[in-house]
């Protein structure tokens, strides 16, 4: 890793990280502020939701409507989407641009005429992207935790909260690796932001469809969103080796292949 490049990149990306953290933090806090009202109108909400088709309830991510009357269930049902969807978009956009922007911004020739190896450039940019993703997740988790502490009524179990946060982090890192992979396979020096955002949305849509009741949701595992176990209120909820292995394995594979491609890649201008 090259420290000179790392600090420069850190400064370059600082505003983006601050902006995304603020937006996600505000959304989480704002959403959690409704928990008191949900509890207050518990019976009316339950009666109203009873009229909604079961398929729609499942699509929304509830196994049971009573889930939202616990602070953790409410947090997961309403806020998980921010970190799963917005966090993944942040991750893939950041990482897909971090190498490619040197090429379409035409600074690659300048950077690569310095005495720095391709491996150093790759690992530095990767470290920077992953650090940003981790920081965003830490900040969002911290804000989520504070919001839960502020708005909770009754008990709160920390362990499932930390587990779901870990899954979300792994999901975001996987999308980070996917973004890098897409960028090194590009044959033209142009931004791939639209494609990457579209890809995240398609995968999220696949995951949502797979959760509809009456549908065999096996195909949903094509989407990494499905690899996150969001059933936080299940008594057996915890870290599952198979899910962690899937996230870590796929992330490592994408990074390895990306690194190998980048080593022999003709730099685009």
């Amino acid at each position: 890793m090259n420290r000179i490049l790392f600090y420069m990149e850190m400064r370059r990306n600082a505003w983006s990280l601050i902006l995304w953290s603020t937006v996600i933090g505000v959304l989480i806090f704002f959403t959690m502020s409704f928990f008191g009202s949900v509890l207050h109108y518990q019976q009316q909400i339950a009666a109203m939701v009873a009229l909604v088709p079961a398929m729609a309830i499942k699509m929304r991510g509830f196994s049971n409507i009573s889930d939202i009357f616990s602070i953790l269930g409410f947090y997961t049902a309403n806020n998980l989407i921010y970190m799963m969807l917005l966090g993944s978009i942040f991750s893939i956009v950041l990482s897909s641009n971090i190498l490619l922007k040197e090429e379409y911004g035409k600074t690659a020739e300048y950077l690569m005429s310095r005495p720095i190896t391709r491996r150093e450039i790759f690992t530095t940019k990767l470290a920077l992207a992953f650090l940003n993703i981790i920081l965003l997740n830490i900040l969002a988790t911290l804000i989520g935790f504070i919001a839960i502490m502020v708005y909770k009524k009754g008990t709160f179990n920390l362990q499932p909260f930390l587990v779901i946060s870990l899954y979300t982090l792994l999901l975001n890192l996987l999308f980070g690796a996917l973004g890098l992979f897409i960028s090194v396979t590009m044959k033209r020096a142009k931004p791939v932001t639209s494609f990457c955002v579209g890809l995240v949305l398609v995968l999220y849509f696949l995951y949502t469809i797979s959760r509809m009741s009456g549908v065999d949701g096996t195909f949903g595992y094509l989407s990494p969103f499905k690899w996150v176990n969001s059933n936080v209120l299940s008594p057996s909820y915890g870290v599952e080796f198979s899910r962690i292995a899937a996230f870590v394995g796929m992330t490592a594979l994408l990074l390895l292949v990306s690194g190998l491609i980048y080593r022999r890649k003709d730099i685009l201008t």
Partner: protein, 293 residues
Amino acid sequence: MDIIEINHLTKSYGRSRGIEDLTLSVPKGDIFGFIGPNGSGKSTTIRILLNLIFPSSGSATIFGLDVVRDSQKIRSRTGYVPSDASMYDRMKVMEFLTFGAAFYGAKNNDDRIHYLLNIFDLDPGRNIAELSMGNKKKVSIIQAMIHRPELLILDEPTSGLDPLIQSRFFDLLHEENRQGTTVFFSSHTLSEVQAFCKTVAIVKDGKIVNIEEIASLRKKQLKKVRILFPAVRTIDDLGLSGIGAVESGSGKSLAFLYSGDINFLIGKLAVQPVENLSIEEPSLDEIFLHYYK
């Protein structure tokens, strides 16, 4: 000792041509011109030398080191001015220069940076994004020279520079060359290569057409001549030897390339009525047509 050695280097981009079987060597201390029209393969060659792209076949060494395997070591001793002076727009000039210099591990570069800024009359406090193309080019030149490289690779370095700054730039290059820096100078302008370089390689359609000493190239003295007569003439009426590519061979206006003695031409024209005469430097393409058809 040769600083750059290129052996049968080929780069193909699928169906389109890059460079083909290119071989040349640049001796230590030389100012070597690398000249050819746009799209002839100059930048491709340079990009291989800096390991920005990989050769399809052949090899190249700089300082005796392989350009693919040892690119980091090579670049630590090389300065490069790209043809496109793109840089990190959010930085200020001084910030950009110290950032670039930091990669070479050299500290206390401030005196050197200010010396170069002074030559190019550049304000270190300005934002890169606000700079004109010419000023960006100046920054690009400075960043390549801060660490006193043993080899300077320059790809169209004068484009965008005004004549005064060009002159200062050439003075600076001569000074660096006197102190031992080898210069590899890519251009499509023959006059600046003729004025500045010792040797020139002429590249066309991805191939080396010729490698010549500038002195021998000068002897050829190719000129583009246009003469307007009051009456119709043919090129044969002039009785000149050394006439090449004829653009207009008969009529009141004659235009042709001339590689003979210029005094002889003027002597011939002095004894007959001429309405107008222009003698100018031919374009590179015209030279290629003349010598390297």
